[in-house]
Protein backbone atom coordinates (compact mmCIF):
# COMPACT_ATOMS: atom_id res chain seq x y z
CA UNK A 1 0.00 0.00 0.00
CA UNK A 2 2.73 2.45 1.01
CA UNK A 3 4.68 1.42 -2.05
CA UNK A 4 1.72 2.23 -4.29
CA UNK A 5 1.24 5.59 -2.63
CA UNK A 6 4.95 6.23 -3.07
CA UNK A 7 4.69 5.38 -6.78
CA UNK A 8 1.75 7.75 -7.23
CA UNK A 9 3.60 10.55 -5.45
CA UNK A 10 6.70 9.93 -7.55
CA UNK A 11 4.65 10.06 -10.73
CA UNK A 12 2.89 13.19 -9.50
CA UNK A 13 6.26 14.83 -8.95
CA UNK A 14 7.38 13.96 -12.46
CA UNK A 15 4.07 15.02 -13.96
CA UNK A 16 4.76 18.41 -12.43
CA UNK A 17 8.31 18.30 -13.81
CA UNK A 18 6.96 18.25 -17.35
CA UNK A 19 3.76 20.24 -16.85
CA UNK A 20 5.52 23.26 -15.40
CA UNK A 21 7.50 23.53 -18.61
CA UNK A 22 4.37 23.90 -20.70
CA UNK A 23 2.71 27.22 -21.38
CA UNK A 24 -0.81 25.95 -20.72
CA UNK A 25 -0.82 26.01 -16.88
CA UNK A 26 0.75 29.44 -16.75
CA UNK A 27 -1.68 30.87 -19.27
CA UNK A 28 -4.60 29.38 -17.36
CA UNK A 29 -3.20 30.77 -14.11
CA UNK A 30 -2.82 34.22 -15.64
CA UNK A 31 -6.37 34.09 -16.98
CA UNK A 32 -7.64 32.96 -13.60
CA UNK A 33 -5.87 35.74 -11.69
CA UNK A 34 -6.89 38.29 -14.27
CA UNK A 35 -10.57 37.36 -14.02
CA UNK A 36 -10.40 37.50 -10.24
CA UNK A 37 -8.83 40.92 -10.46
CA UNK A 38 -11.52 42.11 -12.83
CA UNK A 39 -14.16 40.86 -10.41
CA UNK A 40 -12.46 42.61 -7.51
CA UNK A 41 -12.03 45.94 -9.22
CA UNK A 42 -15.56 45.92 -10.58
CA UNK A 43 -16.72 45.31 -7.02
CA UNK A 44 -14.46 48.08 -5.83
CA UNK A 45 -15.82 50.49 -8.41
CA UNK A 46 -19.38 49.58 -7.47
CA UNK A 47 -18.64 50.03 -3.78
CA UNK A 48 -17.20 53.45 -4.45
CA UNK A 49 -20.38 54.63 -6.06
CA UNK A 50 -22.41 53.15 -3.25
CA UNK A 51 -24.37 50.63 -5.27
CA UNK A 52 -25.24 47.20 -4.01
CA UNK A 53 -24.70 44.30 -6.36
CA UNK A 54 -24.21 40.63 -5.79
CA UNK A 55 -21.63 38.15 -6.95
CA UNK A 56 -21.65 34.42 -7.14
CA UNK A 57 -24.32 31.83 -7.48
CA UNK A 58 -27.52 32.71 -5.68
CA UNK A 59 -26.27 36.15 -4.74
CA UNK A 60 -23.92 34.91 -2.13
CA UNK A 61 -21.83 38.02 -1.62
CA UNK A 62 -22.99 41.59 -1.54
CA UNK A 63 -20.37 44.22 -2.21
CA UNK A 64 -22.28 47.33 -1.39
CA UNK A 65 -21.47 49.33 1.68
CA UNK A 66 -18.40 49.51 3.83
CA UNK A 67 -15.02 48.83 2.25
CA UNK A 68 -13.92 47.02 5.39
CA UNK A 69 -16.74 44.57 5.19
CA UNK A 70 -16.21 43.21 1.73
CA UNK A 71 -13.21 44.59 -0.09
CA UNK A 72 -10.55 44.30 2.58
CA UNK A 73 -8.67 41.04 2.85
CA UNK A 74 -9.60 38.20 3.46
CA UNK A 75 -13.24 39.06 2.91
CA UNK A 76 -12.34 40.18 -0.60
CA UNK A 77 -11.07 36.69 -1.31
CA UNK A 78 -14.52 35.42 -0.44
CA UNK A 79 -15.88 37.58 -3.23
CA UNK A 80 -13.23 36.26 -5.56
CA UNK A 81 -13.90 32.63 -4.80
CA UNK A 82 -17.63 33.10 -5.03
CA UNK A 83 -17.25 34.74 -8.39
CA UNK A 84 -14.59 32.44 -9.72
CA UNK A 85 -16.20 29.03 -9.64
CA UNK A 86 -17.82 29.19 -13.06
CA UNK A 87 -14.69 30.00 -14.97
CA UNK A 88 -12.43 28.05 -12.60
CA UNK A 89 -14.34 24.91 -13.52
CA UNK A 90 -13.76 25.55 -17.21
CA UNK A 91 -10.09 26.43 -16.73
CA UNK A 92 -9.43 23.37 -14.59
CA UNK A 93 -11.12 21.18 -17.20
CA UNK A 94 -8.85 22.59 -19.88
CA UNK A 95 -5.82 21.90 -17.68
CA UNK A 96 -6.94 18.35 -16.88
CA UNK A 97 -7.59 17.56 -20.53
CA UNK A 98 -4.33 19.13 -21.53
CA UNK A 99 -2.41 16.97 -19.08
CA UNK A 100 -4.21 13.75 -20.00
CA UNK A 101 -5.40 14.04 -23.59
CA UNK A 102 -2.14 15.38 -24.97
CA UNK A 103 -0.44 12.14 -23.97
CA UNK A 104 -2.57 10.36 -26.55
CA UNK A 105 -1.93 12.92 -29.24
CA UNK A 106 1.82 12.74 -28.78
CA UNK A 107 1.80 8.99 -28.19
CA UNK A 108 3.70 9.50 -24.95
CA UNK A 109 1.23 7.48 -22.90
CA UNK A 110 2.71 4.48 -24.66
CA UNK A 111 6.26 5.59 -23.90
CA UNK A 112 5.48 6.09 -20.21
CA UNK A 113 3.66 2.79 -19.74
CA UNK A 114 6.35 0.86 -21.60
CA UNK A 115 8.83 1.73 -18.85
CA UNK A 116 6.77 0.22 -16.09
CA UNK A 117 4.58 3.06 -14.89
CA UNK A 118 1.35 1.59 -13.54
CA UNK A 119 -1.77 2.62 -15.41
CA UNK A 120 -3.95 3.56 -12.49
CA UNK A 121 -0.99 5.13 -10.73
CA UNK A 122 -0.36 7.32 -13.77
CA UNK A 123 -3.99 8.42 -14.00
CA UNK A 124 -4.16 8.99 -10.25
CA UNK A 125 -1.05 11.16 -10.39
CA UNK A 126 -2.65 13.32 -13.07
CA UNK A 127 -5.86 13.71 -11.07
CA UNK A 128 -3.90 14.60 -7.95
CA UNK A 129 -1.69 17.09 -9.75
CA UNK A 130 -4.58 18.88 -11.44
CA UNK A 131 -6.47 19.05 -8.14
CA UNK A 132 -3.42 20.46 -6.37
CA UNK A 133 -2.85 22.97 -9.14
CA UNK A 134 -6.51 23.99 -8.99
CA UNK A 135 -6.11 24.71 -5.29
CA UNK A 136 -2.78 26.43 -5.93
CA UNK A 137 -4.35 28.65 -8.58
CA UNK A 138 -7.04 29.67 -6.12
CA UNK A 139 -4.34 30.47 -3.55
CA UNK A 140 -2.43 32.49 -6.14
CA UNK A 141 -5.63 34.33 -7.03
CA UNK A 142 -6.29 34.94 -3.36
CA UNK A 143 -2.82 36.37 -2.81
CA UNK A 144 -3.32 38.63 -5.78
CA UNK A 145 -6.58 39.77 -4.23
CA UNK A 146 -4.73 40.52 -1.00
CA UNK A 147 -2.43 42.83 -2.94
CA UNK A 148 -5.46 44.40 -4.60
CA UNK A 149 -7.00 44.98 -1.18
CA UNK A 150 -3.80 46.67 -0.10
CA UNK A 151 -3.80 48.89 -3.18
CA UNK A 152 -7.50 49.63 -2.87
CA UNK A 153 -7.18 50.52 0.81
CA UNK A 154 -4.78 53.28 -0.09
CA UNK A 155 -7.64 55.03 -1.85
CA UNK A 156 -9.99 54.80 1.10
CA UNK A 157 -9.46 57.09 4.07
CA UNK A 158 -8.83 55.42 7.41
CA UNK A 159 -9.07 51.97 5.97
CA UNK A 160 -6.79 49.04 6.68
CA UNK A 161 -6.29 46.49 3.97
CA UNK A 162 -6.89 43.66 6.42
CA UNK A 163 -10.52 43.70 7.47
CA UNK A 164 -11.13 44.47 11.12
CA UNK A 165 -13.89 41.90 11.02
CA UNK A 166 -11.78 39.37 9.12
CA UNK A 167 -13.73 36.17 8.70
CA UNK A 168 -10.76 33.83 8.35
CA UNK A 169 -12.69 30.76 9.27
CA UNK A 170 -15.35 31.48 6.75
CA UNK A 171 -12.76 32.23 4.13
CA UNK A 172 -11.08 28.87 4.78
CA UNK A 173 -14.44 27.15 4.54
CA UNK A 174 -15.29 28.86 1.26
CA UNK A 175 -11.86 27.98 -0.04
CA UNK A 176 -12.24 24.30 0.87
CA UNK A 177 -15.70 24.14 -0.64
CA UNK A 178 -14.57 25.82 -3.82
CA UNK A 179 -11.73 23.34 -4.23
CA UNK A 180 -14.13 20.46 -3.60
CA UNK A 181 -16.51 21.96 -6.15
CA UNK A 182 -13.77 21.79 -8.77
CA UNK A 183 -13.06 18.09 -8.29
CA UNK A 184 -16.06 16.76 -10.26
CA UNK A 185 -14.97 18.89 -13.21
CA UNK A 186 -11.39 17.61 -12.98
CA UNK A 187 -12.68 14.04 -13.03
CA UNK A 188 -15.19 14.79 -15.80
CA UNK A 189 -12.42 16.24 -17.98
CA UNK A 190 -10.08 13.31 -17.37
CA UNK A 191 -12.94 10.92 -18.08
CA UNK A 192 -13.62 12.59 -21.43
CA UNK A 193 -9.91 12.58 -22.27
CA UNK A 194 -9.62 8.86 -21.53
CA UNK A 195 -12.78 7.99 -23.43
CA UNK A 196 -11.96 10.06 -26.52
CA UNK A 197 -8.15 9.64 -26.31
CA UNK A 198 -8.00 13.15 -27.68
CA UNK A 199 -7.46 16.51 -26.02
CA UNK A 200 -9.44 18.39 -28.66
CA UNK A 201 -12.46 16.12 -28.47
CA UNK A 202 -12.31 16.05 -24.67
CA UNK A 203 -12.24 19.83 -24.36
CA UNK A 204 -15.11 20.02 -26.82
CA UNK A 205 -17.12 17.48 -24.86
CA UNK A 206 -16.30 19.11 -21.54
CA UNK A 207 -17.29 22.59 -22.60
CA UNK A 208 -20.23 21.18 -24.51
CA UNK A 209 -21.41 19.41 -21.39
CA UNK A 210 -21.24 22.57 -19.28
CA UNK A 211 -23.03 24.55 -21.96
CA UNK A 212 -25.66 21.88 -22.57
CA UNK A 213 -26.29 21.56 -18.87
CA UNK A 214 -26.94 25.28 -18.58
CA UNK A 215 -29.27 25.21 -21.57
CA UNK A 216 -31.19 22.20 -20.28
CA UNK A 217 -31.51 23.70 -16.84
CA UNK A 218 -32.63 27.00 -18.34
CA UNK A 219 -35.31 25.33 -20.44
CA UNK A 220 -36.58 22.85 -17.88
CA UNK A 221 -36.42 25.04 -14.79
CA UNK A 222 -39.96 26.25 -15.41
CA UNK A 223 -41.27 22.71 -14.83
CA UNK A 224 -42.08 21.80 -11.27
CA UNK A 225 -40.93 18.21 -11.59
CA UNK A 226 -37.52 19.39 -12.71
CA UNK A 227 -36.88 21.24 -9.48
CA UNK A 228 -36.29 17.97 -7.66
CA UNK A 229 -34.42 16.31 -10.51
CA UNK A 230 -32.10 19.26 -11.06
CA UNK A 231 -30.35 18.51 -7.79
CA UNK A 232 -28.78 15.50 -9.48
CA UNK A 233 -27.28 17.48 -12.32
CA UNK A 234 -23.61 18.14 -11.75
CA UNK A 235 -23.61 21.90 -12.18
CA UNK A 236 -26.69 22.30 -10.02
CA UNK A 237 -25.31 20.03 -7.32
CA UNK A 238 -22.05 21.94 -7.18
CA UNK A 239 -23.88 25.22 -7.11
CA UNK A 240 -26.03 24.09 -4.21
CA UNK A 241 -22.90 22.99 -2.40
CA UNK A 242 -21.18 26.31 -3.00
CA UNK A 243 -24.23 28.38 -2.14
CA UNK A 244 -24.04 26.94 1.31
CA UNK A 245 -20.43 28.02 1.64
CA UNK A 246 -21.02 31.31 3.34
CA UNK A 247 -23.97 30.07 5.32
CA UNK A 248 -22.94 26.85 6.97
CA UNK A 249 -19.98 24.80 7.88
CA UNK A 250 -19.15 21.22 7.06
CA UNK A 251 -20.55 20.44 10.51
CA UNK A 252 -23.84 21.71 9.28
CA UNK A 253 -23.56 19.43 6.28
CA UNK A 254 -23.01 16.46 8.49
CA UNK A 255 -25.87 17.63 10.66
CA UNK A 256 -28.14 17.05 7.71
CA UNK A 257 -28.87 20.29 5.93
CA UNK A 258 -30.70 18.81 2.93
CA UNK A 259 -29.54 21.01 0.04
CA UNK A 260 -25.90 21.16 1.03
CA UNK A 261 -25.79 17.50 1.88
CA UNK A 262 -27.37 16.57 -1.43
CA UNK A 263 -24.97 18.85 -3.28
CA UNK A 264 -22.06 17.29 -1.46
CA UNK A 265 -23.21 13.73 -2.08
CA UNK A 266 -24.19 14.22 -5.70
CA UNK A 267 -20.81 15.84 -6.38
CA UNK A 268 -19.15 12.94 -4.61
CA UNK A 269 -21.13 10.48 -6.69
CA UNK A 270 -19.97 12.15 -9.88
CA UNK A 271 -16.37 12.07 -8.64
CA UNK A 272 -16.54 8.39 -7.70
CA UNK A 273 -18.45 7.15 -10.75
CA UNK A 274 -16.56 9.16 -13.37
CA UNK A 275 -13.14 8.45 -11.89
CA UNK A 276 -14.06 4.77 -11.53
CA UNK A 277 -15.07 4.61 -15.19
CA UNK A 278 -11.97 6.52 -16.27
CA UNK A 279 -9.69 4.17 -14.31
CA UNK A 280 -11.50 1.10 -15.62
CA UNK A 281 -11.30 2.18 -19.25
CA UNK A 282 -7.69 3.32 -18.95
CA UNK A 283 -6.72 0.05 -17.28
CA UNK A 284 -8.34 -2.16 -19.90
CA UNK A 285 -7.99 -0.36 -23.18
CA UNK A 286 -5.19 -1.04 -25.66
CA UNK A 287 -2.79 1.85 -26.00
CA UNK A 288 -2.23 2.90 -29.60
CA UNK A 289 0.56 5.02 -31.00
CA UNK A 290 0.62 8.77 -31.52
CA UNK A 291 -2.49 10.32 -33.03
CA UNK A 292 -0.58 13.36 -34.19
CA UNK A 293 -2.81 15.99 -32.59
Amino acid sequence: MFQMIGEVLTLTRWEWFKLRRRRVPWILLAVSVLLLQIAYWVAYAVSRIGEDVTFGAGGRVSVGGDFHEVLAFPNSAGIGLAFSHGFSAILIMILAVSLTGSEYGWGTVRTVLARGAGRWQLLASKLILVSILGAAALIAGTLALAISSLVASLTVESSDWIAASARWGEFARIFGKTVYGLLPYVVLAVFFAVVTTSSGAAIGLGLGYVLAENIVVGILSSFEWFERASGFILGQAVEVWLESADQMSLDAVSAGQPDALQGFLVSLAYIVVLSGLAFWIFQRRDIAGAKGE
Binding site: W106, G107, V112, L113, R115, G118
Partner: protein, 304 residues
Protein backbone atom coordinates in the same frame (compact mmCIF):
# COMPACT_ATOMS: atom_id res chain seq x y z
CA UNK B 1 18.77 -26.14 -21.45
CA UNK B 2 18.68 -22.70 -23.06
CA UNK B 3 17.42 -19.89 -20.88
CA UNK B 4 14.42 -18.40 -22.69
CA UNK B 5 13.78 -14.71 -22.05
CA UNK B 6 10.62 -14.32 -24.13
CA UNK B 7 8.23 -17.17 -24.67
CA UNK B 8 4.82 -16.79 -26.28
CA UNK B 9 2.28 -19.57 -26.39
CA UNK B 10 -0.46 -19.38 -29.01
CA UNK B 11 -0.54 -15.64 -28.55
CA UNK B 12 -3.47 -14.18 -30.43
CA UNK B 13 -4.81 -10.70 -30.99
CA UNK B 14 -7.99 -9.98 -32.86
CA UNK B 15 -9.29 -6.49 -33.71
CA UNK B 16 -12.89 -7.13 -34.62
CA UNK B 17 -12.73 -9.21 -37.79
CA UNK B 18 -9.04 -8.65 -38.28
CA UNK B 19 -6.78 -11.32 -36.88
CA UNK B 20 -3.59 -9.37 -36.24
CA UNK B 21 -1.67 -12.13 -34.49
CA UNK B 22 -2.65 -15.76 -34.85
CA UNK B 23 -1.53 -18.32 -32.27
CA UNK B 24 2.04 -17.13 -32.29
CA UNK B 25 4.52 -19.22 -30.37
CA UNK B 26 8.03 -17.81 -30.12
CA UNK B 27 11.05 -18.47 -27.99
CA UNK B 28 13.77 -15.88 -27.67
CA UNK B 29 16.87 -17.25 -25.93
CA UNK B 30 18.80 -15.15 -23.45
CA UNK B 31 21.69 -13.24 -24.95
CA UNK B 32 20.42 -13.51 -28.52
CA UNK B 33 19.83 -10.70 -30.95
CA UNK B 34 16.54 -11.94 -32.33
CA UNK B 35 15.01 -10.56 -35.49
CA UNK B 36 11.27 -10.33 -35.92
CA UNK B 37 10.55 -10.10 -39.60
CA UNK B 38 7.38 -9.83 -41.54
CA UNK B 39 5.74 -7.95 -44.36
CA UNK B 40 3.54 -4.95 -43.89
CA UNK B 41 0.73 -5.70 -41.44
CA UNK B 42 2.23 -9.00 -40.37
CA UNK B 43 1.62 -8.17 -36.72
CA UNK B 44 5.14 -7.39 -35.52
CA UNK B 45 4.23 -4.17 -33.74
CA UNK B 46 1.16 -5.80 -32.21
CA UNK B 47 3.39 -8.54 -30.81
CA UNK B 48 5.70 -5.92 -29.31
CA UNK B 49 2.69 -4.07 -27.90
CA UNK B 50 1.41 -7.22 -26.24
CA UNK B 51 4.80 -8.00 -24.73
CA UNK B 52 4.94 -4.49 -23.30
CA UNK B 53 1.45 -4.69 -21.83
CA UNK B 54 0.15 -1.97 -24.14
CA UNK B 55 -2.11 -4.30 -26.08
CA UNK B 56 -4.25 -6.91 -24.40
CA UNK B 57 -4.00 -10.37 -26.01
CA UNK B 58 -7.28 -11.91 -27.14
CA UNK B 59 -5.98 -15.32 -26.10
CA UNK B 60 -2.77 -17.16 -25.46
CA UNK B 61 -0.06 -16.34 -22.98
CA UNK B 62 3.52 -15.25 -22.74
CA UNK B 63 6.30 -14.97 -20.26
CA UNK B 64 8.93 -12.27 -20.05
CA UNK B 65 12.14 -12.64 -18.08
CA UNK B 66 10.68 -15.60 -16.28
CA UNK B 67 7.43 -13.98 -15.20
CA UNK B 68 4.03 -14.64 -16.68
CA UNK B 69 2.53 -11.77 -18.65
CA UNK B 70 3.75 -8.22 -18.48
CA UNK B 71 4.46 -7.54 -14.85
CA UNK B 72 5.61 -4.04 -14.01
CA UNK B 73 8.72 -5.46 -12.41
CA UNK B 74 9.55 -7.15 -15.71
CA UNK B 75 8.87 -3.94 -17.62
CA UNK B 76 11.43 -2.13 -15.53
CA UNK B 77 14.01 -4.58 -16.84
CA UNK B 78 12.96 -3.99 -20.44
CA UNK B 79 13.85 -1.12 -22.72
CA UNK B 80 11.74 -0.57 -25.80
CA UNK B 81 11.10 1.48 -28.86
CA UNK B 82 7.71 0.79 -30.38
CA UNK B 83 6.98 2.44 -33.70
CA UNK B 84 8.15 6.04 -34.00
CA UNK B 85 9.58 7.17 -30.67
CA UNK B 86 7.10 9.44 -28.91
CA UNK B 87 8.37 12.08 -26.52
CA UNK B 88 7.19 15.40 -25.13
CA UNK B 89 7.73 17.87 -27.97
CA UNK B 90 8.34 20.91 -25.78
CA UNK B 91 10.93 19.22 -23.56
CA UNK B 92 14.56 18.89 -24.54
CA UNK B 93 16.04 15.48 -25.24
CA UNK B 94 17.78 15.53 -21.87
CA UNK B 95 14.64 16.52 -19.97
CA UNK B 96 12.64 13.86 -21.77
CA UNK B 97 15.14 11.26 -20.62
CA UNK B 98 15.22 12.76 -17.12
CA UNK B 99 11.44 12.46 -16.96
CA UNK B 100 11.41 8.80 -17.98
CA UNK B 101 14.27 8.08 -15.63
CA UNK B 102 12.23 9.71 -12.88
CA UNK B 103 9.17 7.64 -13.77
CA UNK B 104 11.37 4.59 -13.28
CA UNK B 105 12.17 5.90 -9.80
CA UNK B 106 15.74 6.87 -10.62
CA UNK B 107 17.69 10.08 -10.82
CA UNK B 108 21.14 9.76 -12.33
CA UNK B 109 22.31 12.71 -14.48
CA UNK B 110 25.54 10.89 -15.33
CA UNK B 111 23.58 8.11 -16.99
CA UNK B 112 21.81 10.72 -19.10
CA UNK B 113 25.15 12.18 -20.18
CA UNK B 114 26.50 8.74 -21.02
CA UNK B 115 23.46 7.70 -23.05
CA UNK B 116 23.21 10.98 -24.92
CA UNK B 117 26.88 10.62 -25.80
CA UNK B 118 26.40 6.98 -26.79
CA UNK B 119 23.61 7.74 -29.26
CA UNK B 120 25.33 10.83 -30.62
CA UNK B 121 22.89 13.40 -29.27
CA UNK B 122 25.10 15.15 -26.72
CA UNK B 123 25.38 18.23 -28.93
CA UNK B 124 21.61 18.62 -29.26
CA UNK B 125 20.61 17.34 -25.84
CA UNK B 126 19.25 20.68 -24.69
CA UNK B 127 17.20 21.36 -27.80
CA UNK B 128 13.47 20.72 -27.80
CA UNK B 129 12.42 17.31 -29.08
CA UNK B 130 10.13 18.95 -31.63
CA UNK B 131 13.18 20.37 -33.40
CA UNK B 132 14.74 16.94 -33.93
CA UNK B 133 14.88 15.16 -37.25
CA UNK B 134 13.41 11.66 -37.47
CA UNK B 135 16.87 10.17 -37.18
CA UNK B 136 17.56 12.18 -34.03
CA UNK B 137 14.24 11.09 -32.59
CA UNK B 138 15.25 7.51 -33.20
CA UNK B 139 18.54 8.14 -31.41
CA UNK B 140 16.68 9.59 -28.44
CA UNK B 141 14.42 6.56 -28.56
CA UNK B 142 17.45 4.33 -28.29
CA UNK B 143 18.77 6.32 -25.33
CA UNK B 144 15.33 5.99 -23.71
CA UNK B 145 15.34 2.25 -24.33
CA UNK B 146 18.76 1.95 -22.72
CA UNK B 147 17.78 3.80 -19.53
CA UNK B 148 18.53 1.65 -16.53
CA UNK B 149 20.68 -0.80 -18.52
CA UNK B 150 17.78 -3.20 -19.25
CA UNK B 151 18.31 -6.93 -19.67
CA UNK B 152 15.94 -7.08 -22.63
CA UNK B 153 15.50 -4.62 -25.46
CA UNK B 154 12.51 -4.56 -27.78
CA UNK B 155 13.42 -2.43 -30.76
CA UNK B 156 10.81 -1.77 -33.41
CA UNK B 157 12.44 -0.36 -36.55
CA UNK B 158 15.23 1.37 -34.61
CA UNK B 159 16.97 2.74 -37.72
CA UNK B 160 13.83 4.13 -39.31
CA UNK B 161 14.58 7.58 -40.73
CA UNK B 162 18.31 7.43 -40.11
CA UNK B 163 20.94 8.23 -42.70
CA UNK B 164 23.28 5.38 -43.75
CA UNK B 165 25.99 6.44 -41.28
CA UNK B 166 23.47 6.55 -38.46
CA UNK B 167 22.11 3.14 -39.44
CA UNK B 168 25.60 1.68 -39.35
CA UNK B 169 26.18 3.22 -35.91
CA UNK B 170 22.97 1.72 -34.60
CA UNK B 171 23.83 -1.68 -36.06
CA UNK B 172 27.19 -1.50 -34.31
CA UNK B 173 25.48 -0.47 -31.10
CA UNK B 174 23.05 -3.38 -31.32
CA UNK B 175 25.89 -5.79 -31.98
CA UNK B 176 27.80 -4.37 -29.00
CA UNK B 177 24.77 -4.66 -26.75
CA UNK B 178 24.27 -8.23 -27.91
CA UNK B 179 27.87 -9.11 -27.26
CA UNK B 180 27.53 -7.62 -23.76
CA UNK B 181 24.82 -10.17 -23.05
CA UNK B 182 21.68 -8.12 -23.63
CA UNK B 183 18.82 -9.94 -25.24
CA UNK B 184 17.39 -7.95 -28.11
CA UNK B 185 14.18 -8.45 -30.04
CA UNK B 186 14.63 -6.45 -33.20
CA UNK B 187 11.83 -5.78 -35.62
CA UNK B 188 12.94 -4.38 -38.92
CA UNK B 189 11.97 -4.36 -42.55
CA UNK B 190 15.64 -3.92 -43.46
CA UNK B 191 16.51 -7.55 -43.98
CA UNK B 192 20.13 -6.79 -44.67
CA UNK B 193 20.30 -5.07 -41.32
CA UNK B 194 18.72 -8.02 -39.57
CA UNK B 195 21.04 -10.45 -41.29
CA UNK B 196 24.03 -8.44 -40.13
CA UNK B 197 23.12 -8.21 -36.47
CA UNK B 198 20.76 -11.05 -35.58
CA UNK B 199 21.63 -14.51 -34.32
CA UNK B 200 18.11 -15.82 -34.80
CA UNK B 201 15.00 -14.70 -36.58
CA UNK B 202 11.31 -15.40 -36.68
CA UNK B 203 9.40 -14.61 -39.82
CA UNK B 204 5.72 -13.90 -39.43
CA UNK B 205 3.14 -13.29 -42.10
CA UNK B 206 -0.52 -12.45 -41.56
CA UNK B 207 0.04 -12.83 -37.85
CA UNK B 208 1.32 -16.39 -38.12
CA UNK B 209 4.76 -17.73 -37.50
CA UNK B 210 6.22 -18.91 -40.77
CA UNK B 211 9.60 -20.00 -39.56
CA UNK B 212 11.90 -19.43 -36.62
CA UNK B 213 15.51 -20.32 -36.07
CA UNK B 214 19.15 -19.47 -36.20
CA UNK B 215 19.95 -17.33 -39.25
CA UNK B 216 22.78 -19.59 -40.40
CA UNK B 217 20.66 -22.72 -39.93
CA UNK B 218 17.78 -21.22 -41.89
CA UNK B 219 19.95 -20.16 -44.79
CA UNK B 220 22.09 -23.33 -44.96
CA UNK B 221 19.45 -25.43 -46.82
CA UNK B 222 19.17 -22.56 -49.25
CA UNK B 223 22.85 -22.59 -50.16
CA UNK B 224 23.52 -22.82 -53.85
CA UNK B 225 26.45 -23.18 -56.17
CA UNK B 226 26.78 -21.91 -59.69
CA UNK B 227 28.71 -24.12 -62.09
CA UNK B 228 29.67 -24.58 -65.70
CA UNK B 229 30.51 -27.92 -67.21
CA UNK B 230 31.71 -29.45 -70.41
CA UNK B 231 28.08 -30.38 -71.18
CA UNK B 232 25.52 -28.32 -69.27
CA UNK B 233 22.48 -30.03 -70.77
CA UNK B 234 23.65 -33.48 -69.79
CA UNK B 235 24.77 -32.20 -66.40
CA UNK B 236 21.32 -30.76 -65.70
CA UNK B 237 19.71 -34.09 -66.58
CA UNK B 238 22.05 -35.93 -64.21
CA UNK B 239 21.60 -33.44 -61.38
CA UNK B 240 17.82 -33.26 -61.53
CA UNK B 241 17.65 -37.04 -61.44
CA UNK B 242 20.00 -37.38 -58.50
CA UNK B 243 18.33 -37.97 -55.12
CA UNK B 244 21.02 -36.16 -53.16
CA UNK B 245 20.52 -32.94 -55.10
CA UNK B 246 17.62 -30.80 -53.87
CA UNK B 247 17.21 -28.67 -56.95
CA UNK B 248 19.03 -27.72 -60.12
CA UNK B 249 18.18 -25.32 -62.90
CA UNK B 250 19.76 -23.66 -65.88
CA UNK B 251 20.29 -19.97 -65.45
CA UNK B 252 21.94 -17.77 -68.05
CA UNK B 253 24.97 -19.70 -69.30
CA UNK B 254 25.36 -21.82 -66.20
CA UNK B 255 23.66 -24.20 -63.80
CA UNK B 256 22.47 -23.26 -60.34
CA UNK B 257 22.33 -26.15 -57.89
CA UNK B 258 20.88 -26.05 -54.39
CA UNK B 259 23.38 -27.81 -52.16
CA UNK B 260 25.32 -27.01 -49.02
CA UNK B 261 28.60 -25.38 -49.94
CA UNK B 262 30.67 -27.94 -48.11
CA UNK B 263 29.08 -30.69 -50.25
CA UNK B 264 29.97 -29.11 -53.60
CA UNK B 265 32.76 -31.66 -54.16
CA UNK B 266 30.03 -34.32 -54.36
CA UNK B 267 28.73 -32.54 -57.44
CA UNK B 268 31.97 -32.81 -59.29
CA UNK B 269 32.28 -36.48 -58.35
CA UNK B 270 28.73 -37.23 -59.47
CA UNK B 271 29.17 -35.52 -62.83
CA UNK B 272 32.60 -36.93 -63.53
CA UNK B 273 31.16 -40.45 -63.22
CA UNK B 274 29.13 -39.60 -66.34
CA UNK B 275 32.11 -37.99 -68.00
CA UNK B 276 30.81 -34.48 -67.54
CA UNK B 277 33.48 -32.27 -66.08
CA UNK B 278 33.10 -29.10 -64.08
CA UNK B 279 34.98 -26.21 -65.62
CA UNK B 280 33.89 -23.55 -63.18
CA UNK B 281 32.18 -23.63 -59.76
CA UNK B 282 31.39 -20.88 -57.28
CA UNK B 283 29.25 -20.68 -54.16
CA UNK B 284 26.22 -18.43 -54.33
CA UNK B 285 25.34 -16.48 -51.19
CA UNK B 286 21.63 -16.65 -50.49
CA UNK B 287 20.56 -13.59 -48.58
CA UNK B 288 18.06 -13.46 -45.80
CA UNK B 289 16.08 -11.19 -48.09
CA UNK B 290 15.80 -13.88 -50.76
CA UNK B 291 14.89 -16.42 -48.11
CA UNK B 292 12.29 -14.05 -46.67
CA UNK B 293 10.74 -13.52 -50.09
CA UNK B 294 10.65 -17.24 -50.68
CA UNK B 295 8.95 -18.15 -47.41
CA UNK B 296 6.50 -15.28 -47.32
CA UNK B 297 5.68 -15.28 -51.01
CA UNK B 298 6.25 -11.55 -51.07
CA UNK B 299 7.27 -9.81 -54.24
CA UNK B 300 8.82 -6.57 -53.31
CA UNK B 301 6.28 -5.32 -50.75
CA UNK B 302 8.35 -5.79 -47.71
CA UNK B 303 8.26 -2.57 -45.83
CA UNK B 304 6.49 -2.05 -42.56
Amino acid sequence: MTDVVIETNALTKRYGRVLAVDRLSLQVPRGHVFGLLGPNGAGKTTVMGMLLGLVRPTSGSFSLLGTNGTGRDALRRIGAIVETPAFYPYLSGRRNLAYFQGVMGRNDPRELDRLLELVGLAGRANDAFQTYSLGMKQRLGLAYALLGDPELLLLDEPTNGMDPAGMAEVRDLIRDLGSEGHTILLSSHLLNEVEQVCDSVAIIAKGRLVVQGNVADLLRPQEQVRLRTTDDAKALTILTAADEIEAARAEDDALVVTIAHERSSELTALLSKSEVYVTEIAPLQVSLEQYFLDVTGENGERSE
